[in-house]
Symmetry: C2
Subunit: 459 residues, 2 copies
Amino acid sequence: MTPTDVDGAGVQRPGELVISGCTVLVHDDQGAVGFEEDAAVVVRDGTVAEVTRAEAVAGRVAGEWIDGRGQVALPGLINCHTHAPMVALRGLAEDLPIEEWFNDVVWPVESNLSEKDVELGARLACAEMIRGGVTCFADHYFAMDAVARVVAECGMRALLGEAFFSSQGPQGRERSLEFALRHHGGAGGRITTCLAPHAPYTVDDGDLAATAGLAREHGLPVHLHAAENRDQTETSLARHGVTPVEVLERTGILDTEVLIAHGTGIVERDLPVLERAGGRVAVASAPRGYMKFAWPGTTPVRALRELGIPVGLATDGAASNNSLDVWESMALTSLVQKSAEGDPRWLTSRQALHHATLQSAEAVGLGDSIGSIAPGRRADIVLVDLTGPHTQPVHDLAATLVHSARASDVRTTIVDGRVLMRDRELLTIDVPAVVRELGERLPALVERGHGRRIQDYDT
Amino acid sequence: MTPTDVDGAGVQRPGELVISGCTVLVHDDQGAVGFEEDAAVVVRDGTVAEVTRAEAVAGRVAGEWIDGRGQVALPGLINCHTHAPMVALRGLAEDLPIEEWFNDVVWPVESNLSEKDVELGARLACAEMIRGGVTCFADHYFAMDAVARVVAECGMRALLGEAFFSSQGPQGRERSLEFALRHHGGAGGRITTCLAPHAPYTVDDGDLAATAGLAREHGLPVHLHAAENRDQTETSLARHGVTPVEVLERTGILDTEVLIAHGTGIVERDLPVLERAGGRVAVASAPRGYMKFAWPGTTPVRALRELGIPVGLATDGAASNNSLDVWESMALTSLVQKSAEGDPRWLTSRQALHHATLQSAEAVGLGDSIGSIAPGRRADIVLVDLTGPHTQPVHDLAATLVHSARASDVRTTIVDGRVLMRDRELLTIDVPAVVRELGERLPALVERGHGRRIQDYDT
């Protein structure tokens, strides 16, 4: 791929991308976050080849050269749980409890969804994520063939799962499997797949057990909602005598690689259950929505960390979260965790960056290939401009990144060594065209006069 | 000022600024937030002259014309409590309880502050605020002559007060009065002033009573910290048998126009006290810092609203809040209030916008002149671009503004009819020059080897 690639200045390296002069977020042997100043990142064939001193690459003639001075290179952010196409419903169901949000707005509207709506929503979502420095997302939705097409075309990385309810009969589970098998390794390896039962309150035990069997048989992970809030846990205990996490254990879901969304209803008795699933289980936390729905808790990040369970950052869908801004999730995770634990020393900025990088990569099953800028990792890198007045001066770079920088400070987004946004210009998505086409479809999409719903929320 | 100003299209109006084609946030007779689409705002002599249909201004030749299509015009945001020059300490004291934050870092560093440091910090802060759509701020700090100079030069509006402690003797209070009298009405009326005792735990009752007397005598408002957190309230009760709010009542501070910062330690017994001060008292809430310090509560916005007490939005200083992003304060106020009250229907986006506009204007004593885009009000206006993928589609404009838009979506900032930022370019502040000059001073500023502090934190 790079025939002229030999050491020494002045040599032509047409297959190389070099980012030079930046500060690079790196991890030490224990995974702790640190920074290398005046550094350079050399990318070959979509993979990080070197992280070196800026002076070591001076004079090289790479195929592509990015001047990173005044910027920080971070591993691309990972949105560990979202429903990307739901950006089409952004702001449609506001200031409601979750029951009304689901039953009166979201599920009636979703009964109108066409594959075209999903495609346009996903494209708009990917535009928002690329602009916000997100390079990978875990998506859990319907008509996911359309999302897979958008991922292939826009250049992002994604873990995709076709969602199902037991109300669809065994066909739901079968379609989820068929999707996972057909798309795994798609888009040049950028797409990985999973089975995606909706949640223990909408997928019955038999269906979950069958899903667990399929996951083991085919070596697929499972991504689902569970213990989203305390009401769900209490209802599960009252109706079934077990918590949602215990349902996952007894149905064998916890014997698979599993990504649990939310978990604000994880209770003390769930901790030993999760500990037994250590090494296989991860949790995605999207704190903005928990506050907006006025749920009485948040993901128990500290307890999970004590068990060694990775907690990744997420936004959930924009219909509840109003944005796919993982940068905001990072800051809110820090603020909400300090507040929930009553401890200002907990969840420091370096810890938040650890969640945003290595832990999020583990959560989406890509702990070996992304989440760090290091030789051998895929080159998913974002460059953040810290010259704005709101990020100056810099006394503590980790704090600047978590608490002062914003998604809009990302200037360049790179996935697999390909530049998807340069100097804030999107190179793979035409936003005005998507907005126009989606806008024409919205009246039909949001129509609720038919009285249909795809599902009932009754935990 | 506008000799050619007569009605009719095609007439030259050199003194006019016209913003056309935008949606305008307006208030009805009861102050409720609404929106006028395809509207135009006509500004004359720094004052809003008309809010009309876009077609009504077609063909007019104004001195200055802004094409507002695709944008929303809002009243400029108001930062109701900050310490602008503290941006110089942004990120210097992270992940600490407030006692250590004050005693080990902030107050030792502030003993090094020169007027030049304050000036550079204020200039950087104003750059950040103008870029984030903030047109007015209430500042409570030291060496405020420097802040007044910066406000005059950069074009913002501000309520300024020279802070003092009783440890400075009566000279502190006298300097605060002298500052207020000298600067009131400065910068062409853009500067208003107040007396600025630090807090009931650093200013004794005699000093507060004398301050209240001066405020009444000179017709000045008072801006101070009080009941910042529950610990302060409990300590005050244990030591003096009264809450901080009751201290304000017995010393006569509540007989003046008073702006209370924070108030997360306001307790049930304070509510009738504050109700008696209705019409004079307002509270500024800066929820980000309360979460970061892990305080166990937040400003009781709902209880205060039930008493008719305005609650303005604020950021506090960047040494605790890490930014002066009032947009973030607006979103967090909504999220934190829903969460604290356990009610997703409370603090809707329209309510958040009401806090951001009319209530914030009242809080800084400018309820008659700013906070709304309406004939006769000063023309403090920001234009927000909603064409980005993160703010599309728009199902509910209020929700889009509060929960999806970001400070970086502000394209144009106008104060008193003067454009301070156009298409994100700052017209009155040279950020690289400020950053460079401030950077040279930082080593001396942050030196703590001397062991001095300007004050001790011991509530």
